[in-house]
């Protein structure tokens, strides 16, 4: 999508090919263009400092040998995934549906690192910084933070591997924060500094960017001034049909398999419904292998298209606490958090 800084979208067909998104096709999104083009794993250090009694400076070997290694399957999705479909259109990266991916992330629990550093009583927030830097001095460095409770969740990892390989440079070699269920903006790449704070982070990227209207819908009317906002935080339940493209033709009169994926913010998918008439009638689908609550969940359904007819295919996911996708798209000025039911039209011949 852009070359400087690099932003690349995963071609949608990849989601049909495998439930785990290959590293070399995984979407890429940087904010600042001054990214190190060279990293020496032998001299690289991760520091943990701030409101701690024992600041740490760890090399990769120590990280891989002195702490328990964990692996988790989790979806990483940009808050602005599908922004290109907002109506009226909004500024920002004009992503289709490919600013997301599912991978097996391996590394150490952030919690274990924080425990080893021995946080002081007044620790409240944890801030993460990577090696990427702004081009102009006046641009705020890209940092994100989590409240202490969220940071201490056991699935939050400092990961060194993705799908069994070292992280690629473009996806944050040598370390990336993995915050399952949360939008990708928190998954700081090239992570080299963790700072424990005793007050809320005032950094631009936490306080000004990645904000949603505060109302429960996170909706706004075009042109409306936002009076109160909240951070983008966690994802919302979504599903996609992955094996057909819009306007594709299929053979009528015989059984056609529909395949897709669903995911949410970590409650897990309870069921996915499928419609072939634009949402008037819904049928149930079969869920496939469960790779964990944070992963893509495959699903499939069948129907027999009649020759000469067109079908508006839709899927609707519901998670284990009963949240479903939205029937009508929400609108907000930054184009975040789309989770409306998507439609794919096919023609049977």
């Amino acid at each position: 999508m852009t070359t400087r800084p690099p932003q690349l979208e995963t071609p949608f067909s990849i989601f049909h090919e495998s439930i785990f998104t290959p590293n070399d096709a995984f979407f890429v999104r940087w904010h600042l263009a001054n990214i190190p083009q060279k990293i020496d794993p032998d001299t690289f250090r991760l520091t943990i400092r701030g409101r701690v009694n024992h600041p740490l400076s760890l090399n990769l070997h120590e990280l891989k040998t002195q702490f328990e290694q964990m692996e988790i399957a989790a979806v990483c999705q940009c808050a602005g995934n599908s922004r290109g479909f907002f109506q009226p259109r909004v500024p920002g990266g004009q992503w289709g549906n490919g600013a997301m991916g599912n991978a097996k992330w391996k590394g150490v629990r952030l919690r274990d690192l924080l425990q080893k550093a021995d946080m002081k009583e007044d620790a409240r927030h944890v801030r993460f910084d990577g090696l990427d830097q702004p081009v102009a001095e006046a641009t705020p460095d890209f940092q994100k933070s989590l409240g202490l409770n969220d940071a201490l969740h056991e699935e939050v990892l400092v990961a060194h591997s993705m799908n069994g390989e070292s992280l690629p440079m473009l996806n944050g070699f040598p370390l990336r924060l993995v915050v399952p269920g949360w939008f990708a903006t928190y998954w700081v790449k090239m992570l080299n500094d963790i700072e424990v704070l005793n007050e809320a982070d005032q950094n631009f990227w936490t306080t000004k960017a990645y904000r949603l209207p505060a109302d429960p819908c996170h909706c706004a009317r075009p042109g409306e001034m936002l009076t109160s906002t909240v951070p983008t935080g966690k994802m919302a339940v979504r599903s996609f049909i992955t094996n057909v493209e819009n306007d594709q033709t299929v053979t009528g009169g015989k059984v056609f398999d529909i395949k897709g994926i669903a995911f949410d913010q970590g409650y897990g998918i309870d069921r996915v419904l499928f419609s072939m008439d634009g949402g008037q009638q819904w049928q149930s689908t079969r869920l496939g292998t469960d790779y964990g609550d944070f992963s893509f969940r495959p699903w499939e359904a069948q129907f027999i298209p009649e020759t000469g007819r067109s079908y508006r295919l839709q899927s609707l996911a519901i998670n284990r606490i009963g949240e479903s996708q939205r029937f009508s798209p929400r609108w907000n000025p930054s184009g975040y958090l789309r989770n409306a039911i998507e439609t794919v039209t096919i023609h049977a011949i």
Binding site: D40, A136, L170
Partner: protein, 219 residues
């Protein structure tokens, strides 16, 4: 249309990126090279402003990928670039720049189908004395396009020159550099830095004029 655009950019860029990831082995130093910007601001009234103020931190794609925005929204975006990110554009230039941005909004320009780097350089031979340009015209071109970063005297001390990472080069210290390499940098820019490509703005003889002018600059 949009999807195929994403796809082609994806392919283009993955080819470049993947081709240049030197090592996957964790024991080795990892390096990769960033590709050059595939598109530049189209020459039109106001494009100098965009070249000087909108290529510092990101590529022109950030602008060309935007859907149609009204004037107020473009003005708001430019103010955000200035106030939140430190874009050094003077207030009185904002309105002419917005005119230009509106004129470019939603123009479809397709990136080249092959990498800019692999293009055979148009510069023909590396004969140090073979680029006789007109330094007077070079000065005019320099003053139009280059001082925001490189400074009036070429020392890299323009309005924003030293705050860039890497900083704008001191053009008075290029004695050791061959004409070809200087021309190549001006033509194609420096991938991964704020130095833009000028090939859509400057033809062969203008490049030579600029080179001759740069050769007259003294430290």
């Amino acid at each position: 249309m949009r999807v195929s655009f994403f796809l082609s950019v994806w392919l283009l860029v993955t080819i470049i990126f993947c081709g240049q990831v030197v090592a996957k082995n964790p024991e080795e130093i990892l390096t990769f090279k960033l590709p050059s910007d595939p598109i530049s601001f189209q020459p039109a009234p106001g494009s100098q402003l965009a070249n000087n103020y909108c290529l510092i931190c990101h590529s022109a794609e950030y602008i060309y990928m935007q859907p149609p925005h009204p004037r107020e929204l473009w003005t708001e975006i430019v103010h955000k670039m200035k106030e939140s990110f430190g874009c050094p554009i003077p207030d009185e230039q904002i309105s002419p720049l917005v005119d230009y941005l509106l004129s470019q909004n939603s123009i479809q320009i397709s990136p080249p189908t092959h990498s800019v780097q692999s293009e055979a350089p148009e510069i023909i031979a590396d004969q140090p004395q073979s680029f006789p340009g007109d330094p007077r015209n070079g000065k005019v071109l320099y003053e139009r396009h280059c001082p925001t970063c490189h400074g009036a005297g070429g020392k890299g001390d323009g309005l924003i020159g030293q705050s860039l990472v890497p900083p704008a080069a001191n053009l008075t210290l290029l004695r050791e550099k061959s004409d070809t390499s200087i021309l190549d940098t001006i033509r194609n820019g420096r991938p991964g830095t704020a130095m833009p490509s000028w090939k859509d703005y400057l033809n062969h003889s203008e490049l030579n004029d600029l080179l001759s002018y740069i050769r007259t600059l003294s430290p």
